[in-house]
């Protein structure tokens, strides 16, 4: 019986695999501030956050890469009715805290904790939030790869003193007591010394939370018309977008690897010695005679260029191509491993 299909036996011919794919994501400071004269920065009427694009955002080529916002807790020393956008900054803090830290047993929103031990210790009450777009982080940020270099010294027009924030040791040690998955503490030293953290990095959420105290000198944009004497002055005396401008001004460089979880199914398509040696290609025959044979005893042969995967009702669901024709005759057999990624 001549046949053109061969059944795939689930137990023998199908294998499932999971692969983690990592890409390096560099974000240089010149993109964040400078190169595009802030045409890649979008501020909104609501004033709750600022969006950063990798190209002027009016262009269809632009990709949204991250958002910046700031906030403080209602019991922060900066919280005052006199502060600009006071309610919005408290709301921003609470929103991020309830999503990233969760609630205590009485239903109150927990505050960000410096070392991740929510039961006690120093709380981060004044924070800068960097929300990376899914385009960059994909499924998650790869642990132990995050580095953010900030210029923490000098005047806004002449920033200096680079400080590198990294998730040291997170590839082997990280925290899991967040409702949004795994996170780690950001440190400025190559040693992950407990109690010296300057922020938190949430891997699956793709959000970095920095304590405002990482900036201990002047802060703000170079052309600022507001008080830039300290970050506290900016947080209380100007809008959220001004604080975002200040962060961008001091953004030197950033690097991390993202992770994409690739689930694959591999179908083993086995062409045995007596299979697939003839073709239904119209050029295969001349007056019904097989072109590749002169006499009956010549071996039949065919050339494989395509593998089609079919449903039970013969509908073509997936297809794979080879890079060059594969010769098939009764003297050989081939196992074509067809990988379908999800």
């Amino acid at each position: 019986m001549a046949v053109t299909f061969k059944n795939i036996i689930p137990d023998q011919d199908i294998a499932n695999t999971r692969t983690l794919l990592n890409e390096a994501i560099p974000i240089t400071g010149t993109i964040v501030s400078g190169t595009y004269n802030d045409e890649n920065i979008k501020n909104y009427a609501h004033g709750m956050f600022q969006s950063v694009y990798d190209y002027p955002f009016l262009s269809s080529s632009a990709n949204h890469i991250f958002d910046i916002s700031v906030g403080y807790s209602s019991d922060s020393s900066l919280s005052s009715s006199a502060s600009v956008q006071n309610a919005k900054k408290i709301n921003m803090y609470n929103q991020m805290a309830q999503v990233l830290v969760g609630y205590d047993d009485t239903g109150n929103i927990r505050q960000f904790d410096r070392d991740g031990d929510l039961s006690s210790g120093t709380k981060l009450k004044e924070c800068i939030f960097i929300d990376f777009a899914r385009l960059l982080t994909k499924d998650e940020i790869q642990k132990g790869t995050f580095a953010l270099t900030l210029m923490t010294g000098g005047a806004p027009s002449a920033v200096s003193h680079p400080l590198v924030l990294e998730d040291h040791g997170a590839n082997t040690s990280y925290l899991v007591n967040s409702p949004v998955g795994e996170y780690a503490v950001l440190y400025t030293s190559s040693l992950a010394v407990e109690g010296t953290g300057v922020g938190l990095l949430y891997y699956q959420a793709g959000i970095a939370v920095l304590t405002a105290s990482v900036f201990d000198g002047e802060f703000g944009a170079p052309d600022a018309t507001y008080d830039t004497s300290s970050i506290d002055a900016v947080l209380t005396g100007s809008e959220i977008s001004s604080s975002a401008d200040g962060l961008r001004n001091r953004w030197n460089n950033s690097d991390f690897n993202n992770t994409t979880e690739l689930n694959s199914t591999i179908y083993f398509c086995r062409a045995m010695t007596s299979e697939f040696n003839y073709s239904s290609n119209p050029t295969y025959l001349s007056q019904s005679q097989i072109r590749v044979k002169v006499v009956e005893t010549d071996m039949p042969l065919s050339y494989i260029t395509t593998v089609g995967l079919y449903s039970a009702d013969n509908e073509l669901l997936a297809v794979a191509k080879v890079s060059e024709p594969l010769k098939k005759d009764p003297t050989n057999e081939l196992t074509l491993r067809i990988r379908l990624d999800y």
Partner: protein, 300 residues
């Protein structure tokens, strides 16, 4: 010690076809891969030089560049490789349009004409056309299968493993649907995302599962063993497939698709709208496939 030859184990990345994506999105379990087939669409076997030295015979074929995969499910796997345990076959059967016992192609348009409404059917003066308006009358479309050469006499039976007992027929569902010789519409197996309807016809199965007769069946054994003007297969014959094509209601009542997909032409003193398409007939056993050109016409 030499390295092992691992050329027999090849990893290829597959892409989903549009039909595959559609089934995956449906989420009802209809996306299930159960079988595979191998194709050789790009290969031109006329480049195989049987008189060349060993190792040189397929030099040009092996240099054939391979196209990336299309995602349109009907654009791929047009010619499949066949598994036949025997290696001593010198001839394989083909499928040919029988223009003597079925409708013949119009010589000026090189396609089979199909009328779509009553006016066109009443006024057309050529004898060779399919009545797509009223399928209870008119001619049939017939294809024959077998070895088309004189090397083996037609009196000899075609090997049973080469006889097509099932055919798949594909046609644009927006333009027409298939029917039996007595004009009864045929059940569609499925219509894909590109509106291509697939029909499966098996020997021994007539309409509604009744024992087939020429009026209500599709696939029949070709028992004619002698030469004759009506036979298009010169050698041993297998089966033949016959059906009619009923024009869609859209073509019958509107010119929308004609202006969208077709054009106008003058034919036998009248001006017609027309749409050129084809009906694709594939043998389920040998995978041999022919595209029969069709022209749906509507008088202006």
């Amino acid at each position: 010690m030499a390295f092992l030859d691992n050329s027999g184990d090849i990893i290829l990345d597959a892409v989903l076809t549009d039909a595959g994506r559609e089934r995956l999105a449906r989420g009802d379990g209809s996306f299930k891969i159960t079988k595979f087939s191998l194709g050789d669409d790009e290969i031109n076997y006329t480049l195989y030089n049987t008189s060349a030295a060993t190792g040189q015979k397929d030099l040009q074929i092996m240099q054939t560049p391979i196209l990336e995969a299309f995602t349109n499910n009907t654009s791929l796997m047009k010619s499949k490789l066949i598994s036949i345990p025997r290696t001593n076959l010198l001839y394989l059967p083909v499928i040919l349009l029988n223009q003597s016992l079925g409708v013949a192609k119009d010589t000026t348009t090189d396609s089979i004409l199909i009328t779509v409404d009553e006016t066109t059917t009443d006024n057309i003066t050529t004898g060779q056309y399919l009545n797509g308006y009223e399928t209870t009358s008119g001619q049939i479309l017939r294809v024959d299968q077998g070895l088309n050469n004189n090397a083996v006499a037609a009196t000899i039976d075609l090997d049973t493993d080469l006889v097509e007992t099932q055919y798949m027929v594909e046609i644009d569902n927006r333009l027409g649907q298939l029917a039996t010789s007595d004009g009864t519409p045929s059940p569609v197996s499925f219509v894909d995302d590109d509106s291509i309807a697939s029909y499966y016809f098996s020997m021994g199965t007539g309409r509604n599962g009744v024992t087939p007769t020429p009026a209500n069946g599709y696939v029949f054994e070709n028992t004619v063993t002698g030469d004759g003007p009506d036979q298009v297969i010169a050698g041993p014959r297998g089966t033949y497939l016959q059906f009619k094509i009923k024009a869609s209601q859209n073509l019958n009542s509107s010119t929308y698709l004609f202006t969208l997909l077709g054009n106008e032409f003058s034919f036998l003193g009248n001006t017609y709208y027309y749409i050129d398409t084809s009906v694709r007939i594939t043998g389920a056993t040998t995978g041999y496939r022919i595209d029969v050109p069709l022209r749906f016409i509507k008088q202006q």
